[in-house]
C-alpha cells in the first residue's frame, strides 16, 4: 500500500469516528439554548479536561512552536510552556471558578452575557462581543492555516493548502452546527487522545530514528549549538521574557471558547481535577513540540523565516512510517478541529445571545440557534479568505490574538472580585487597554524592553480603576444576583 493511500485511510477513519461521535451527541442533545450551547452544564472531569485541553491546543503548539524552536532553540520551551503550567490552572481558579458560579446564578451561556448581567449593562456585552470576535478570528486562522500546511506538506501538495483548509472547515461546521456543545466536547475527548498520544509516540520514535536522545542532542550541538542555550536573543531578554509570560498565562482564560467550556462543568471537582492534570499534559505536548524543532534544525537545515512552520510535518515525513504519518495528520486535524469547533460554537452563541436576543427579545429560542449557525458560517468564510491571504506566520498571528485577549482580563477579574466595579470602568479598561496595545505595537521598539501586551495590560488596569471610581456601580440587587450576598 502506498504512503498516500495509508495517509488517506487513516485520516478517513479519523473523520468517520469524529462524525459518528458528533452524530451520537446530536441524538442526546436536548432542545433549547442551554442544552445546545453548554451541553446542559454536565461535563465531568474527563470530558471537561479533554475539552479544555483540546480547545487550548492548536497548531500554535504542533506547528508554530516547532517552527519557532527551529530558529530560537530550547529557550522556546521555558518561554512558553513552563509559565502556563502555573498560569492556566491559577486563572481557572481565580477567574474560571467564580465565573462558573456567577454564570449559574444568572443563567448566562456566554462570557459576554455573564459580564453584561454582572455589571447591569448590555453595552458591556456588545463591547466584549466585538473584542472576542476581533481577537478570535486571527486565532481561528492559525488553526486552519496549520492544518493546510501539514496536509500539503505530508501529501507532497497532492492536497493543496486551500483544499485542505476548505475541507477542515466544512467537516467542523457540520458536526458543530448539528450537535452543539455536547458534540464538540465528546469529540474533544477522542481528538485530545489522538494528538497527545501521537506526540508522545512520535517523540520516542523520531529520537530513536536519530540514534537516541543523546545522539539527537549531540547532532544539534555539532551543527547548531546556539539552539541548546537561550543566549542573547531579544525574545529571551528579561523584559520580553517576563511580559510574554504574563501574556501567555493570562490569555487562555480570556479565550471565550475556554470560558464557555468552564461554564459547562458539572461541579467544582471537575474543574479542580482539570487543574491538577494540566501541568502534566503540557509537558507531554510541549517537550516533543520544541524538540522536533531543535532536532529538525540539525536534521533538515535551511528553512528560512516562516517556512520553518513546516518542520513538524517534514520531521514526521523523514522519520516515521506511513501509518504514523497518517496518525500525525490525524493528530493535527484533531488539534485543529477541537479548537475550531469551540471557537465557532462560542462566537455563534455570543451573536445569538448577546446581539440578536438584545435586538429581538421576543425571538423564539430555535431562531436564536439558527442565527448562531448562520453567523458561524459567515465567520468560516472570512477565516478561509484570511488563510488564503496568509498575512503572517502562525506564531505572529497567535501573538496578536493572545495580546488582545489579555486586555480583557482586568475586566473579567475585576467584575468577579470587586463589587465596586462599574460598567464604565469595564468599557474604559477594554478601550484604553486596546488603544495602548495597538499604539505600542506600532512603535519600532516598545519602551523599557517590555512587550506591548504589558503596557496595554497596565493601561487596562489603570482605566478600570479610574473608570470605576468615576462611575456608579450597579444596583446592589444586580451585584448580589451575580456574586451572591456580600
Amino acid at each position: 500500500m502506498s504512503v498516500g493511500t495509508t495517509l488517506l485511510l487513516v485520516c478517513l477513519a479519523y473523520l468517520v469516528i469524529v462524525l459518528a461521535i458528533g452524530a451520537a451527541a446530536y441524538r442526546r442533545t436536548g432542545r433549547g439554548s442551554e442544552a445546545y450551547f453548554l451541553g446542559g452544564r454536565t461535563a465531568r472531569t474527563l470530558v471537561l479536561f479533554m475539552a479544555l485541553l483540546g480547545t487550548n491546543v492548536t497548531p500554535f503548539v504542533l506547528m508554530g512552536i516547532p517552527g519557532l524552536a527551529y530558529h530560537h532553540g530550547v529557550g522556546v520551551f521555558g518561554l512558553n510552556a513552563a509559565i502556563v503550567a502555573l498560569g492556566i490552572p491559577w486563572t481557572f481558579h481565580a477567574i474560571g471558578w467564580p465565573a462558573w458560579k456567577a454564570a449559574r446564578r444568572v443563567g448566562a451561556i456566554t462570557p459576554a452575557e455573564l459580564f453584561a448581567e454582572r455589571l447591569g449593562s448590555p453595552a458591556v456585552g456588545v463591547v466584549l462581543f466585538i473584542a472576542f470576535v476581533v481577537y478570535t478570528l486571527p486565532y481561528l486562522v492559525t488553526a486552519v492555516l496549520g492544518v493546510g500546511l501539514a496536509v500539503s506538506t505530508l501529501t507532497h501538495d497532492a492536497v493543496s493548502l486551500p483544499l485542505a483548509a476548505a475541507l477542515i472547515l466544512v467537516v467542523t461546521l457540520g458536526y458543530t452546527a448539528l450537535g452543539g456543545m455536547k458534540a464538540t466536547m465528546w469529540t474533544n475527548v477522542f481528538q485530545g487522545s489522538v494528538f497527545m498520544g501521537f506526540m508522545v509516540i512520535a517523540f520516542f520514535v523520531i529520537a530513536d530514528d536519530l540514534g537516541g536522545l543523546a545522539a539527537a542532542t549531540e547532532a544539534v550541538r555539532a551543527h547548531a549549538p546556539q539552539l541548546l542555550v537561550k543566549g542573547e536573543r531579544p525574545m529571551f531578554a528579561p523584559g520580553a521574557w517576563a511580559s510574554w509570560g504574563l501574556a501567555i498565562s493570562f490569555t487562555v482564560i480570556a479565550f471565550p471558547h475556554m470560558l464557555v467550556r468552564i461554564f459547562a462543568a458539572r461541579d467544582v471537582t471537575a474543574l479542580k481535577n482539570t487543574c491538577r492534570l494540566y501541568p502534566i499534559s503540557l509537558v507531554l505536548l510541549w517537550l516533543p513540540a520544541v524538540m522536533f524543532g531543535v532536532w529538525g534544525a540539525a536534521d533538515l537545515p535551511g528553512l528560512v523565516g516562516r517556512e520553518s512552520d513546516r518542520i513538524f510535518p517534514l520531521m514526521v515525513q523523514a522519520h516515521l512510517g506511513p501509518a504514523l504519518q497518517g496518525l500525525a495528520l490525524a493528530g493535527v486535524l484533531a488539534a485543529v478541529m477541537s479548537t475550531l469547533d469551540a471557537q465557532l460554537l462560542t462566537l455563534g452563541s455570543m451573536l445569538s445571545r448577546d446581539v440578536v436576543r438584545r435586538l429581538a427579545p421576543a425571538l423564539p429560542e430555535r431562531h436564536e440557534v439558527a442565527w448562531g449557525r448562520a453567523f458561524v458560517l459567515a465567520l468560516a468564510l472570512v477565516a478561509y479568505a484570511i488563510v488564503l491571504w496568509r498575512p503572517a506566520s502562525i506564531f505572529g498571528l497567535a501573538t496578536f490574538s493572545f495580546s488582545g485577549y489579555v486586555m480583557l482580563v482586568p475586566t473579567m477579574y475585576g467584575a468577579l472580585h470587586w463589587r465596586r466595579m462599574s460598567a464604565g470602568g469595564a468599557i474604559a479598561s477594554i478601550l484604553v487597554g486596546n488603544a495602548v496595545l495597538l499604539g505600542t505595537m506600532s512603535l519600532p521598539a516598545p519602551p523599557l524592553g517590555l512587550l506591548p501586551v504589558a503596557w496595554g495590560l497596565l493601561a487596562a488596569c489603570g482605566a478600570l480603576l479610574v473608570g470605576s471610581w468615576l462611575g456608579r456601580p450597579p444596583a446592589p440587587a444586580v451585584i448580589e444576583r451575580a456574586l451572591g450576598p456580600g
Binding site: 529557550g75 513552563a82 502555573l86 491559577w90 543523546a214 528579561p238 502534566i280
Partner: protein, 86 residues
C-alpha cells in the same frame, strides 16, 4: 488541616516564589552542559520548575479552594429576568 486563610497566604507566597524563579532563572550559557546526557540546562530547568508548579497547583486545589456541594444539593437558582432586561 490548614485554615483556608493561611492556605491562601501560603499559596500567594509559593506563587510569588515561582514567578521570581521563572523571571530570573539561573543560566548556564554552555551547550556542552547536558542533564541526563541529553537535556540542555535551559530545557532541564523549566522542566524542574514545572514539577514545582505542579505541586503548587496540587496544593491550590486543596485547602485554598473550598469544595462546594454538587448542583443537586445546592439551593435552587434565582429565576431568570424577563428577556431583554439588562
Amino acid at each position: 488541616m490548614i485554615a483556608p486563610l493561611v492556605a491562601r497566604r501560603l499559596l500567594s507566597v509559593a506563587l510569588l516564589a515561582l514567578v521570581v524563579l521563572h523571571v530570573a532563572p539561573p543560566t548556564v550559557d554552555d551547550p556542552a552542559v547536558l542533564v541526563l546526557g541529553w537535556l540542555p540546562w535551559d530545557l532541564a530547568y523549566p522542566l524542574l520548575w514545572m514539577a514545582a508548579a505542579a505541586l503548587v497547583v496540587l496544593f491550590m486545589t486543596g485547602a485554598p479552594w473550598p469544595d462546594e456541594p454538587p448542583p443537586e444539593r445546592q439551593p435552587p437558582l434565582p429565576p431568570a429576568p424577563p428577556a431583554g432586561d439588562p
